[in-house]
């Protein structure tokens, strides 16, 4: 019990790390929740929806119709930015295109002396090409209808009728699949809210346990403290059990805290089947991370305590990027996915995708097993290293 109590005393001294990573987690949760709250555009089947910025300097019937059309296709932000920031926004894929409708657009259009709409995008990317085709196609169509003798209103109406892809895009009885914009580096908003909110939770679980639990265990492995413990009334086994219990309690608290906090943003989606599976998935991941700590603990003789910050970053960031936590799995290349299959984060992300798609336990069991397998391997390796050192 003494060791158990001491564990928490030392763990509490690592509270800045706990609050730092909880703060990062909270920030990310708010961002994801805000993405869903502000989403104007609807991702329609058969067509990809992007985030674009439009500056309408004309505010005419034609420009309004044009903006309305764009709003139907994409998530449109009607805001002007300075030149540098526009470039930043496109580079970081915060927006896919920045469209400017010039002042006098309709007037010149009616006078058969049209002004051009300016579209800034990364034209080397398919997204930029797609948006530019859409823009050209719409404006060209309106102009041609007008030339054919239709009024502006009729030209707009006919154009909208012809570009309504639901009229001509067919799905030959095949299953709908989730997809993500190819070049997006954003937090995914293409899955459900439950999927997006639970997707990045492995990162705070790993960072908190690695930066707040592992250092405490490593304190007890220091030569001087280990020697003192070995001549005390507390046996080595009792000490290890107390440390394991302390680690388990902190892990459980972290899991519960993150689950409750994330669930607060889910509204009525809580306590449903998908939510229960997502929580189970997170629980398994927490258990696996706790097992990873045992493996790392076995390497305490390498002096890893001094490098905890570096190790935490390498493991948490590496696992997250390779496992599809920060970048959607659909975007990662096949080579990365092959490497990712050896990591619990990959199976966590795959499980979550399946949960989001409404799959049952039988289809999730395989992914859960793979997650646990990683933990079991870590545990076995950790114990083997300890035994090897003892012998």
């Amino acid at each position: 019990m003494q060791v158990f109590k001491t564990f928490f005393k030392i763990a509490w001294s690592y509270k800045p790390g706990l609050f730092l990573y909880l703060g990062i987690c909270a920030f990310m949760t708010f961002m994801v929740a805000a993405q869903f709250g502000n989403s104007e555009g609807e991702v329609k089947y058969g067509n990809e929806s992007y985030h674009i910025a439009v500056v309408d300097k004309d505010h005419s019937t034609l420009s309004n119709a044009f903006v309305k059309y764009l709003k139907k296709q994409h998530t449109v932000e009607e805001k002007a930015y300075d030149k540098d920031l526009v470039k930043d926004l496109i580079y970081y894929t915060e927006i896919s295109a920045y469209i400017t409708i010039p002042d006098g657009f309709e007037k010149n259009h009616l006078e058969k002396n049209p002004l051009k709409v300016e579209s800034l995008s990364d034209s080397g990317q398919a997204a930029g090409v797609f948006i530019n085709i859409q823009l050209s196609s719409y404006l060209e169509s309106v102009a041609r209808f007008e030339r054919a003798g239709f009024s502006l209103e009729d030209a707009v109406a006919n154009t909208e009728k012809s570009v309504d892809f639901e009229e001509f895009v067919e799905i030959p009885g095949l299953e709908k699949e989730n997809s993500h914009p190819n070049n997006s580096i954003s937090i995914s908003a293409n899955g459900s809210k439950l999927y997006s909110l639970f997707l990045f939770l492995p990162y705070p679980v790993m960072t908190i346990l690695l930066s707040c639990v592992l250092p405490v265990i490593l304190v007890f492995r220091e030569k001087e403290i280990r020697n003192r413990t070995s001549i005390s009334a507390v046996s080595e086994t009792a000490c290890n059990i107390a440390l394991a219990a302390g680690g388990a309690v902190v892990s459980l608290l972290v899991f519960l805290g993150l689950t409750i906090f994330t669930s607060c943003f889910l509204g009525e989606d809580v306590f449903h089947g998908k939510w229960a599976y997502a929580v189970l998935n997170l629980f398994l991941f927490t258990v696996v991370t706790a097992m990873l700590l045992i493996l790392m603990d076995s390497f305490s003789f390498l002096g890893i305590r001094k490098a905890m910050d570096v190790l935490t970053n390498i493991i948490a960031l590496g696992f997250s990027f390779l496992g599809g936590i920060f970048v959607p799995l659909s975007v990662l290349g096949n080579g990365v996915k092959t490497v990712g299959k050896f990591l619990p984060t990959y199976w966590y992300a795959v499980s979550l995708e399946r949960i989001d798609a409404g799959k049952g336990f039988s289809e999730l069991a395989g992914c859960f097993s793979m997650e646990l397998l990683f933990g079991v391997v870590c545990l076995a390796l950790g114990l083997a290293v300890v035994n090897l050192r003892k012998s």
């Binding site: 790390g17 703060g23 990062i24 990310m28 329609k44 058969g46 067509n47 920031l85 930043d88 580079y91 915060e94 049209p114 051009k116 709409v117 300016e118 579209s119 800034l120 995008s121 990364d122 034209s123 080397g124 990317q125 997204a127 090409v129 797609f130 530019n132 085709i133 823009l135 404006l139 060209e140 169509s141 041609r144 209808f145 030339r147 054919a148 006919n158 012809s162 892809f165 001509f168 895009v169 067919e170 799905i171 030959p172 095949l174 709908k176 699949e177 190819n182 070049n183 580096i185 937090i187 990162y203 001094k306 490098a307 910050d309 570096v310 190790l311 960031l317 990027f321 970048v327 990365v336």
Partner: protein, 402 residues
Amino acid sequence: MLFHIFISRLKIHIRNKEALMWSLAFSLVLGTLFFVAFSSIYKSSRNTTIPVALVEGEGMPALPVEDLGEAYDFLQNDKYLSESSSFSEMLGNLTYEDGTKILRVKTADMEEAKTLLEKEKVDGIIDTGDVTDIKLLVKKSGIHQSILTSIVSTFRQYVTMITETALHSPQELEGVLNDLEEELSFVEEKSLSGENKDPYVAYFYNLIAMMCMMASMAGVAVPIECQANLSDVGARVNVSPIHKGVYEFIGLLAALIVQIVITMIGLTYLIFGLGIQFGGNTLVIYLTAILGTVLGVSLGFFIGHIGNLSSKTKYTLLTTVTVGGGFLSGLMFAQMKVIIEKNVPFLNRINPSAVITDAFYSINMFGISGRYYRAILYMVLLTVVFLICGLIMSRRKSYASL
């Protein structure tokens, strides 16, 4: 004497093998992991040719032929829509700005086309069986399917225009048909300038920024080892005749040299080992990384002097600043930096990681321009502020007993 202290401090840093090894491991391991994860994403999202199946046929028009009159004849005999070879050829001739073909067309019957679609050999089927109602069949949503939708939509617009005119203003039909021959342009397409437009390179900018910020761990050790209440070495320094400010300056210089070497090794590995294209002049990139390391060490120097905090608290504070700063500059999500720029730009000016990241980004996207000089100015300003504040806080410290 000063040289002797400098050499001693240098030896202290060099003999701290664990710190050196982990600092290097951070850049080498994480750089490799980033490389594995991101190297192919941008290439795969660049303009690629879309495989598509074209189904030709003699389907019935959806609209009554007698109402369409001349328009139907036009559509049936149109060089684009009726002669599938020409239509196929025209689709095949569509190109991106860089000359890459947009479509690779395979003419097939519907059964074969559906098999190809199911096997994902093609991204969609364009069915021109009924020229008045061209259809697109896709299996899933995605950018390729979206581009196909836009292309088919353009052809449908032509068809709608002809049929609507034929039905409502037949007298205009000839003019419309002539008009279709004319090419119109209403969009001025501007492309993003810059050397390497791969947004995933931003993660490498953040990695270098993090390497520079980790140099602050060496920087914080300098004042800690000069404060008698925090270390034995500090107690000895305080009773020695050397001026504390001079001792700290020399210590800082020694730490800086070692950290610069570590940053250079990491950067060299990224540029020449992994072949990361940072964009811009390589020499300027190296000089910027050196300046970033100076900023990192000075940040550590500043935090090392804050109040009477224990050394553990100072290290924790430094970790919070570096990891938190890394998060805000986009180490976990590259977009974070631009989100901050949109909403709280001031934070990007005072966050050392964001300032360093911005300098690398500026070299790539803007070249050696005003934007780059602004980033450098902020780096220099922050360095000077940290050093001056550190020096001010180091003054007039005395101990009742040692």
